[in-house]
Subunit: 139 residues, 6 copies
């Protein structure tokens, strides 16, 4: 039973800010640099979701990519696209909105939903810029 | 003895169609959507082949990339480039031409050929579009 | 009154074949090469539509990109995406489906529709592959 | 005396919001859609600056790209990178921060500075996303 | 008679060095920076050749892209790919190998050859890196 | 304690040549092809460094990307950018400058430096061209 990995790419544009309320402005700037800007900044984020499973005999699909895309859009993208990650996103409340933490929380949302489709979530990867990316494999 | 992975990227342009002959047109459209179009559609596919091995002392090569490119072109690309994956490709006969199944069959072709070069096939990855890709690691 | 150019990128995946019915198979292959394959081949085409105009005072928009994207999708993309350019596309009937001719016909569809939005169609550009593209400026 | 065009690409990440204070929330959402989000959103913007001139005999340069990059960075990028285009950017005060208007204002900053280097500013192009871009040629 | 522009992209990898023999090392470094390194450096150059003409009735082609690609490869690419632009390239002898000058000389080679195919050379564009490019339109 | 992978992309432009001094010119050309050119050739290399670790509670960072970028630039990039990999690079002395060997040596430089930041070097990946890349995981 061959295991194949399928990956779906989606995009979202969001504002965020990295800072800690109980740190001084100097400490925030030393650690977070320009990312601490009080009036926010933003990115075109790219989200890559990889799912693992055995291609079904009839369709040749690990999982219908229409279903995967639909889950990612309705459960994740609509909640973060054109939003402020610090202020507008319920599942990031109380969490520092680093790309690392965003990837972990998106994993937690998607993992059980993928499992309902006889497939296994393998990886959540986010590009914050072309040069900076993170990946979480659930462990 | 360090193990290094080398990856070669190739391209092919092909037509295909996803459908099952013993399903109704409605069932085919429900599952495969626009991919069931009777008159075919097509893609610029990108194929990434990754090989693992120890760099040789003289050349510093895991495997000469000219040889790897030549194998991929003569054994895979000429059989699928500017072809119809449902009608023209011997090694896909009787197989649903999903990108998953295509990756598995390409693995089966390349694995023994790479082994003749003191290297090990590690991954076959195919991008059907910029947003949809599959990867097969042989297991 | 500054003139600004705005460009919207869209994608479509289609099958096509280049051949002339009144030429021999040899002549077709000599001129069109692998693109003459009787069972079709296909591409992920990229369509870039550029519109020229003066940004409006209230919005700062030459033309609302939502409107431009909507026009391109409903008047062009739905007619060619996941289609066979030789068989399925009404506006290409009787026309050799080269990328050049496709760009000219898309121009003819879009030009009057853009003009209704107080803007001017400037360019229709199509990438057939990463390496081959055409552009039509309406003249 | 051949005229050659040279282009330098730079990047900036910024937050912005499109809205008009004297419009109702409904009107703002009808026109600007998700871009009207009160808590901002953001992008990885790409800025392309094209300069025209005759290559100098000694250097073969229209203009030293180090000088062009330096001007673009010190006069434009530092003022907008990791900033809020509505709140933090002096040269955008009172102007709707559409990408069109941003391109026009960047042109106004750069045009006299390029002229001091015996070259002519030809184009300011900004990609807001991979799919949406604007270009201003100064007319 | 519509005029359409077609563009072919090719690649070449070359070494070069920017320096003037009759300048001091200090002067060379002040002007050319790291590009003056005595032991050379190199790039993956991308060459884009754009040709203008009327699509022919039979083929729908401005010019057969196979012919355009063949001309660019045999008349330009083989002379510069995996070469040293200062030492190995006949048509650059005595010319500072800036990307600007390279584009002008490639234009001079290609212009008469394209004219033999009932088409007109419109542009030679070279990317030295993703961020730095030049374009020559023959004037 | 979730483990997250973060990746930083950097660029360098370098010249190199593949040849063995004790082989004949014919043998060198048979094995290395155009890469044996006596006057060198070059590439725009892309370097991807991936680090693994647990996001810290305060910052949400596996490791501050500013620190990672700084280490990669000062310990690797300045030693190879705009250099000749055969002649100018101390850490490649006596080693065939294949991309495989370059990746292994960069790993040896970076591994202890990353370890000082409570993180683990996971991968060094180098693209020599868009089509050819290598990856070393330290084993």
């Amino acid at each position: 039973m061959p295991q194949v990995f399928i990956t779906r790419k989606e995009h979202f544009n969001a504002a965020h800010r990295l800072h800690k309320a109980d740190w001084s402005q100097e400490e925030n700037e030393r650690v977070f640099g320009r990312c601490a800007n009080a009036n926010w900044h933003g990115h075109n984020f790219t989200l890559l979701v990889t799912v693992r499973g055995t291609p079904q005999h009839d369709t040749g699909f690990v999982m219908n990519l229409k279903d995967l895309a639909e889950i990612v859009k309705t459960e994740v993208i609509v909640k973060i696209d054109h939003k402020n990650l610090n202020l507008d996103v319920q599942f990031m409340k109380g969490i520092q909105p680093s790309t690392e933490n965003l990837a972990i929380e998106i994993w937690r949302i998607l993992q059980p939903l993928i499992a309902e489709h006889n497939a296994t979530l393998h990886s959540v990867r986010i590009f914050e810029t072309e040069n900076n990316s993170v990946e979480y494999l659930g462990e």
